[in-house]
């Protein structure tokens, strides 16, 4: 009775989690293909990027640390995004602010009280590519968390999609097991998938 209930719930969850995630699956599948096929000309984005340079007068209060200065500059420029590559000097600060499809490289000069923004905007293909990888990870310091709320939300949704897909995979095994006598080729296909995965993850480096 309990097993029947579990398999019934498992099947329902498989259907509804799958339907809930369908657009996310399409997004990450298509963007994954774009990242692996940089030679597809119709999806080129770097050559089509738009560049814009603006110079703005700003006021930088003295006695602040680099984080406070960056926050103050972002507030004055009315921009937001994931802040990266902060390089603080005695009389200037350089950093970049990004969100998917958009990068803003900023140089603020304390003495001249000016801020130079070099903005890069990508087309739809560039946006798709950056959505796939936009998790706020810092290669130089892996212990730091994303500093923009929306990066955290997007990273959380990436985790959610991954956990959802793990459930869909495992639940499919349970669903097939129930009807394995009708679908006997399932033994072969599941085994083939497992062998391939184990080979690439575990065996190849020891062979």
């Amino acid at each position: 009775m309990l097993i029947k209930k579990i398999t019934y719930t498992n099947r329902r969850l498989h259907i509804h989690i799958g339907l809930l995630l369908v657009l996310f699956i399409w997004l990450f599948s298509i963007s994954g293909l774009l990242l692996n096929h940089g030679d597809w000309e119709f999806t080129s984005f770097w050559e089509q990027r738009k560049q814009n340079k603006t110079i703005t007068t700003i006021h930088i209060p003295s006695g602040l640390d680099s984080t406070q200065i960056v926050k103050s500059i972002l507030l004055q420029l009315k921009i937001s995004g994931e802040v990266n590559n902060v390089k603080m000097n005695a009389d200037s600060v350089d950093f970049s602010v990004s969100y998917p499809g958009h990068v803003n490289n900023i140089h603020a000069d304390f003495k001249k009280s000016i801020c130079v923004q070099n903005q890069l905007s990508y087309n739809i293909w560039g946006k798709l590519r950056t959505l796939h990888t936009f998790n706020g990870a810092n290669k130089n310091n892996t212990s730091t968390a994303p500093n923009w709320l929306l990066t955290r939300v997007w990273r959380f949704s990436m985790d959610g999609v991954a956990i959802g897909l793990i459930f869909l995979s495992v639940s499919s095994w349970i669903m097939w097991y129930k009807i394995r006598k009708e679908y006997t080729w399932g033994y072969f296909t599941l085994l083939a998938g497992l062998v391939l995965a184990i080979y690439f993850v575990l065996i190849i480096r020891t062979a």
Binding site: N36, P100, A137, I163, W173, L202
Partner: protein, 202 residues
């Protein structure tokens, strides 16, 4: 359309079972990539002892890549050659496998070879596979047998995943019992998806 239901159901089942272990690799690696700090602090990279050896002659060839390929063949090392650095005094390049990196440095004057190896573990192996072949070093990428196969496999998984999600929607549509709740799931998914993209992209 309903006449296609049995065959689409069978394909959905078989393709799903086939790629499910590979989908697990991609999903686990997403968690690894998003929480690198946790992985780094709990699963240390093991540096193996450096090997010092010598080759009789550097097997120069038509390109840096071919030379590097000849070198690893001589040294009995397998893997994907990453970027190659070469100047007047040395040639160096990493050789990558999922979860294992070998760095090779050859002194051009003495033919002395330094081989450093890093055992990165299973979680980082999934991470590596997720990122490969990827957008970087496109000219060099796919220089090993395993990477050529992985590239085909990764593409295959994505195409089948697209098929599975589309066929899943088709199969659900004919399940009258689940139709109402199914619409709710789809609408919630659309709201979450468009809402997130709206805030992220604008």
């Amino acid at each position: 359309m309903k006449k296609y239901y049995p065959s689409i159901r069978a394909l959905h089942l078989y393709f799903g079972l086939l790629i499910s272990p590979l989908v697990l690799i991609f999903c686990i690696s997403v968690l690894v990539l998003n929480h690198t700090g946790y992985v780094d602090s709990n699963y240390a990279i093991k540096n193996l002892p450096v090997i010092k050896t010598r080759i009789d002659k550097i097997p120069y060839d038509s390109s840096d890549l071919q030379t590097a390929k000849n070198i690893i063949q001589k040294l009995g090392i397998k893997g994907e050659i990453d970027y190659i650095f070469q100047n007047d005094s040395q040639i160096s390049f990493p050789v990558l496998l999922p979860g294992f990196t070998t760095s090779i440095k050859i002194d051009k004057q003495t033919n002395e070879v330094l081989i450093s190896r890093k055992e990165e573990g299973t979680l980082r192996a999934t991470n590596f596979l997720h990122k490969m072949p990827g957008p970087h070093n496109a000219k060099l990428r796919g220089n090993s047998f395993f990477m050529k196969n992985w590239k085909l496999l990764a593409d295959g998984v994505v195409y089948l995943l697209l098929f599975l999600s589309a066929s899943g929607v088709f199969l659900w549509y004919f399940l009258k019992v689940e139709r109402k709740l199914g619409w709710v799931s789809i609408v919630v998914g659309i709201i979450l998806f468009t809402g997130l993209l709206f805030f992220l992209l604008t």
